[in-house]
């Protein structure tokens, strides 16, 4: 390990968190011609990397470390973006303008003119007995993914807690390796927080066909072990599922500690407006650490954990810091890979009051289109890329697709796009 490089005494823009959002803020500032010094401080030991493959191609071994990097060292050097890894920021002080200083764990300090918080989120853990046993893993960081990948190679019986995206992706990888795989979910269906029932059903059928078992509507009481090693997952009804590997995929907790210490408004995540401004006009935040105004439900705030959101919030922050016009609003979108299934999601479905299902006779694909007050707001597709592309385009132009016509799976959605009334 090389010695940590010293911090500069001062910088123009300090970005705390060297992940997807942090890197994008820095890169966008340079694209906008912003010329002041930029410093990215990250607490992880690795240079900035992408997380999505951690539960997909990296976990199943089809990609390696090198493909995870977000940018090359040359890029950062040429763009004059200083990156320091292994440097957790412990404390911040700011004045009324938002300028101030940061103190890293270990004592170094750096003064800055502008502050951007891009601290991401961490994996939620379960407040139950045995959660700290050897063989119980979460999946958020590269370190987590390396641990889990190594464990999968030795495991026989895997229990996944939580049927969200990360849990289902982990189950897909485990079952593809031929491991005995069970998913335990508190709700009565998969992806219940984000998806409508037909999509949950579709994924349930496919995972079952791969040999994955499901315990839905089921609470976990505790994780049982022997000599510190996990042995089984004990359910609320008293049954025990034997396991030598437990993957906890029960969501993420936004990293808000620094924001709270600064007295910024935090409601689950750091509250920001569409420009990425926090409750302190001079302090910005972007990515998984934030919550933003809900696009359909006034008075509600929404945390959107996606690469797209991290990037688009970061672009907005860069524009505000550079003092140029904000970029046009972007369509939220997300994807997930589960073996031969590619999920593509456009828009935000929460707040929908009806939906339409499209599925070809083969049964190998499905799209759910979500509507609110008659207007299209979102879609989720599995192996129907044209549906996804059409919906993303319609939403980007503030247009809609009439629900009745959309129900016919053989018509092209892009031919149905019309203005909203």
């Amino acid at each position: 390990m090389s010695e940590p490089q010293n911090l500069p005494a001062r910088t123009g823009v300090l970005v705390v968190g060297a992940g997807e959002a942090g890197v994008r803020v820095a890169a966008s500032l340079r694209e906008l011609g912003h010329d002041e010094p930029i410093l990215l401080l990250g607490d992880e030991p690795h240079p900035p990397y992408q997380r999505p493959p951690l539960s997909k191609a990296f976990l199943d071994g089809t990609t390696d470390h090198d493909t995870l990097a977000l940018r090359t060292p040359d890029f950062f050097r040429e763009a004059r973006i200083e990156v320091r890894t292994g440097r957790p920021v412990a404390d911040l002080e700011i004045d009324d303008s938002g300028a101030g200083s940061a103190r890293c764990a270990g004592g170094d300090t750096v003064a800055f003119d502008h502050l951007v918080l891009a601290t991401g989120a961490r994996a939620r853990t379960l407040p139950i007995g045995g959660a700290d046993l050897d063989g119980v893993c979460t999946l958020r960081s590269l370190h987590d993914a390396e641990t889990l990948r190594a464990r999968l190679a030795r495991a026989h019986r895997v229990v996944v807690l939580g049927a969200g995206y990360i849990g289902l992706e982990a189950a897909a990888v485990a079952s593809a390796r031929g491991l005995d795989t069970t998913v335990v979910e508190r709700e009565n269906r998969l992806l219940s927080r984000v998806s409508a029932a037909p999509l949950s059903e579709f994924l349930l059928d496919r995972h079952r066909a791969w040999g994955v078992r499901f315990e839905l509507d089921t609470e976990v009481r505790e994780i049982v072990g022997d000599s510190g090693r996990v042995q089984a997952v004990k359910l609320a009804d008293g049954r025990e599922l034997p396991a030598d590997l437990v993957v906890v995929g029960v969501g993420a907790v936004p990293g808000t500690e620094l924001a709270e210490k600064l007295g910024l408004e935090v409601r689950r995540g750091i509250v920001v407006d569409t420009a990425g401004r926090t409750s302190h006009r001079g302090v910005f935040a972007a990515g998984d650490c934030t919550v933003l105004p809900h696009p359909h439900l006034s008075d509600e705030l929404l945390g959107v954990e996606s690469v797209q959101n991290a990037n688009d919030q970061a672009r907005a922050v860069a524009a505000a810091v550079a003092g140029v016009a904000p970029p046009p609003p972007a369509v939220p979108w997300f994807w997930s890979d589960q073996r031969d299934l590619k999920l593509q999601i456009a828009g935000i479905s929460s707040g929908h009051d009806s939906y339409v299902v499209r599925s070809s006779s083969s049964g190998n694909d499905v799209t759910v289109l979500y509507y609110r007050e008659g207007a299209l707001i979102a879609s989720e597709s599995v192996n129907r890329p044209k549906d996804f592309m059409a919906v993303k385009r319609a939403l980007g132009k503030d247009r809609t697709i009439p629900p009745t016509a959309a129900a016919d799976p053989d018509t092209l959605l892009k031919d149905l796009i019309i203005d909203r009334t």
Partner: protein
């Protein structure tokens, strides 16, 4: 290492070295080539890594896959016979010097 020549929509040209096996998209985004968005990082989910492959390399880059084909149909910029999603082209020594033009809209 094989080289890739990128022509960006802003008129700039960038010559980037690529590891064998890494995609044209990966080499371009990591080097910060303007115009490639590649939001999904190569998962074949976004169609924002659309490029036009210059003539002499059209065959060498291989065939368009089925899923890629559907995504390309609805990409933002016009699809031509030279259109590819650059995350689907792994670099090899045979592709040394390949020239691609980044699509103007992604």
């Amino acid at each position: 290492m094989p080289k890739i020549v990128f022509n960006s929509p802003d008129g700039s040209q960038h010559v980037v070295e690529a590891r064998n096996g890494s995609s044209i998209m990966e080499a371009g985004t990591r080097a910060g080539v303007p115009g490639i968005v590649a939001e999904c990082g190569g998962a074949l989910a976004c169609a924002t890594c659309h490029v036009y492959v210059a003539d002499p390399f059209r065959d060498a880059v291989g065939e368009v896959g089925d899923f890629e084909d559907e995504m390309l149909d609805d990409a933002e910029a016009e699809r031509t016979a030279a259109s590819r999603l650059s995350c689907q082209i792994p670099m090899t020594d045979e592709l040394d010097g390949v020239e691609v033009t980044v699509a103007p809209e992604q």
